[in-house]
């Protein structure tokens, strides 16, 4: 060994490799030691290299999990979104997939939440752990989104929420929850501000209001948001004469409307999740001859089937990220709305529009980060900006704050009129004038 070291000292290490080694220069033991060192260096070097520079396998597919309500009370929403999502993903793939990932194709995997939060939790976990989805998207029921977001946070997989509007969703300090739609506090304020605008325009002062919601997380949170907005001296200050929370899917609402009739509010603020309950409520208003000046809704009233009740359903205001008049503001949306009608036979509504926007966001994020690592996708989501012209929504773009809430989310305010669901506010984007106060049931006739 000593002679070997001396030899290296004299001739340099490279000579060990290239020279013909004689028995006096290197013994068998030394040869074994050299071999062991070479092997250790080679193996260690390989592991060190792969640790610092992990091999990037070729990505052929990016899996997107869609835990949507495909059955249960909110199935209409999920069944509306599903065909559009599948079609748009197909379009993206036909256009070459995700370029920054070598043309990797998107694959959406749906899981039925049955409109139930606990099933939504299970399905979200399944999509992450079994189906290996790297990003999830939802945006229907806030209650479902709540449990899904918890699973995503646990596994470190980002979830993008479309039309779920409960403020709680982005107030829990979660790092993997991103919502591009406005939350109820923002939305409630916008409705109250619009009522102030209506008062100013018509010269009629509203003194009393009532809040009516269902008992879902969405409904309850909206009720709180309405109360909070009313405390804002700039847009609120009305006397709340009644606050009703009814169980979702009631068999009858006569008692609730009787309470309202006794309280005599001039304006109503509603948060009713499903169109069926909105229809039942509106028909009960008519039956009971309950008159008021304006009804502002947070959901449900925009669904196409609500239009089936004709003039009984007119004059309701609803804040939405999308409405039919959006095609006037953004003509490129019309082919998508037409495609949706071709796929489902129904009118394009806010829910599928929000799902479309979620996919636009996912595509942009994947292109930018060029990775399927959920952590990198999350980091890219946190810093990305999507301009409004890429979205079929009323938003002024997408840019998330530190809580994952889109700071550019803006609602359009629509009103059911004889010509359909029309964009009436905010005033600077209105397509038609709002009708305020709404006619009484006797004035409407029929």
């Amino acid at each position: 060994m000593k002679s070997f070291i001396n030899y290296i000292d004299k001739k340099g290490f490279s000579m060990v490799i290239f020279m013909k080694v004689d028995k006096r220069a290197i013994s068998k033991v030394v040869a074994v030691v050299i071999a062991v060192i070479v092997v250790v260096v080679a193996v260690g070097g390989y592991f060190a290299y792969t640790a610092f520079f992990p091999p990037t396998p070729k990505v052929t597919e990016v899996r997107i999990g869609c835990p949507y309500p495909l059955s249960g009370t909110a199935a209409t929403i999920g069944l509306d979104c599903k065909p559009l999502i599948e079609w748009f993903v197909d379009q993206i793939n036909k256009e070459g997939g995700i370029k920054s990932l070598g043309g990797a194709k998107l694959k959406v995997i749906f899981a039925d939440t049955e409109s139930k939060p606990e099933i939504a939790r299970i399905q979200a976990a399944k999509l992450i752990t079994e189906d290996k989805c790297v990003v999830l998207m939802d945006g229907t029921l806030s209650g479902n989104a709540l449990t899904q977001a918890e699973e995503c946070e646990k596994y470190g997989v980002p979830i993008i929420l479309g039309a779920s509007s409960s403020p709680t969703l982005t107030e829990r300090g979660f790092k993997y929850t991103f919502r591009h739609w406005a939350h109820d506090k923002m939305l409630a304020r916008s409705l109250f501000a619009f009522l102030k605008h209506l008062e100013k325009e018509s010269g009629k002062k509203v003194e009393t209001i009532a809040i009516v919601t269902d008992n879902t997380l969405f409904g309850v949170d909206c009720g709180k948001a309405y109360k909070l907005a009313n405390e804002d001296p700039e847009v609120g200050g009305y006397k709340i004469v009644e606050h009703i929370e009814f169980p979702i899917g009631p068999t009858d609402l006569t008692s609730e409307v009787a309470r309202l009739k006794v309280a005599k509010p001039q304006a109503l603020f509603l948060a009713v999740t499903v169109a069926g309950d909105c229809i039942l409520l509106q028909r009960t208003f008519k039956k009971m001859d309950f008159n008021f000046w304006a009804l502002f809704s947070a959901s449900g009233h925009h669904m196409p089937e609500y239009g089936d009740i004709g003039k009984t359903g007119w004059y309701v205001y609803i804040r939405l990220p999308y409405g039919p008049d959006m095609v006037i503001k953004k003509p490129w949306v019309k082919p998508i709305a037409d495609k949706f009608k071709e796929l489902t036979g129904r009118e394009f509504t806010a829910y599928p529009a929000a799902a479309y926007a979620s996919l636009v966001l996912i595509r942009e994020v994947l292109e930018k980060c060029g990775s399927t690592d959920p952590k990198k996708i999350r980091d890219t989501l946190a810093e990305i900006y999507i301009p409004p012209e890429k979205l079929p929504l009323a938003h002024a773009g997408i840019k998330f704050d530190e809580n994952g809430q889109n700071i550019h989310a803006l609602p359009g305010i629509f009103q059911w009129q004889e010509t359909g669901l029309r964009l009436v506010g905010p005033p600077d984007v209105a397509v038609v004038k709002p009708i305020f106060p709404q006619p009484t049931w006797a004035e409407r006739g029929g």
């Binding site: 069944l79 929370e245 009814f246 068999t251 008692s255 609730e256 009739k261 039956k287 196409p304 089936d308």
Partner: protein, 290 residues
């Protein structure tokens, strides 16, 4: 305020009559076969869809479509008894429950697949026909549904007490073995009872469709209360089911008006629990004392 309370009570009676109609079908089947049919509400929902499509396609009024729905659902009920109930008649209770529960899921999901979850509206000519007395209003669809439900219940009572078939059903309900020994074809009675029970659910569905949005979940909503009413009115007692339906309907309505809408079902269940604690056999059953 008093007028509104009167309105709420009247409306509770209207709603209760419909609950009764759904529950009577359920209690008939339990009374004779001792089977809890979880799919009963779904069969009611299917009849709502039949009523809707008959109205939508040929503008057939739901009140007229009852004459199609009743025999149709009767037939479905007989088939249900022959192919679903019969094979499990002697099975363990949990197997029976699982079978009807499974059938409920199959029906609901099939409807969801075929007709989606969209809410569908039936608007007969009298949909917006109202009769007003001061602040109290009667809407034609509910009044008609109430009248039809009461008439059907009375008709059923006469059928059960005045006809030989009705008496045979009651005999089987009381003691199927003794009835069989007396020459009554028990399986035929089972079939007729199941048919009648399903037909009642069908009529309830057609009547409800005149004012309630048709959707795959509609059956579940009414079924939930129908179970409570069946137990409250004493299982197997169709007259008890009728009265219990009215009690629950009014309790729900008055609670929502005077206390809180959130408690409408809770209070109905408190009434249900208290009744069972004080009278375990239900309001109209014989005391189960050892």
């Amino acid at each position: 305020m008093h007028e509104m309370l009167t309105q709420v009570i009247l409306n509770g009676l209207f709603l209760g009559a419909i609950y009764s109609l759904v529950s009577i079908g359920l209690t008939l089947i339990w009374g004779t076969m001792k089977i809890i049919n979880f799919s009963h509400g779904c069969l009611m929902m299917v009849s709502m869809y039949i009523s809707f499509w008959l109205w939508f396609i040929i503008r057939l009024d739901p009140l007229i479509s009852i004459f199609i729905i009743f025999p149709l659902m009767y037939g479905i009920g007989c088939l249900f008894q022959r192919f679903i109930i019969m094979p499990i008649l002697e099975a363990e209770r949990h197997a029976q429950l699982l079978m009807t529960f499974g059938l409920m899921l199959v029906i609901k999901n099939t409807v969801l697949y075929v007709w989606r979850a969209d809410y569908r509206i039936v608007l007969p000519l009298y949909a917006d026909l109202f009769f007003r007395t001061g602040e109290i209003v009667f809407d034609a669809p509910r009044v008609i549904a109430f009248t039809a439900a009461i008439a059907l219940s009375i008709g059923l009572h006469f059928f059960m007490t005045k006809t030989s078939m009705g008496m045979a059903i009651r005999a089987v309900a009381q003691d199927s073995e003794a009835a069989s020994a007396m020459g009554i074809n028990v399986y035929k009675i089972y079939s007729i009872t199941c048919g009648l029970g399903t037909a009642f659910a069908g009529v309830a569905g057609a009547l409800i469709s005149t004012y309630y949005p048709v959707n795959p979940e509609a059956g579940t909503v009414f079924m939930f209360m129908a179970f409570v009413i069946m137990v409250l009115g004493s299982m197997g007692n169709y007259l008890g089911a009728m009265v219990a339906g009215l009690i629950i309907g009014v309790t729900e309505g008055v609670t929502a008006f005077l206390i809180s809408s959130s408690l409408r079902q809770a209070v109905a269940f408190i009434v249900f629990i208290l009744t069972l604690l004080l009278k375990p056999e239900g309001l109209f059953g014989r005391l189960l004392r050892r």
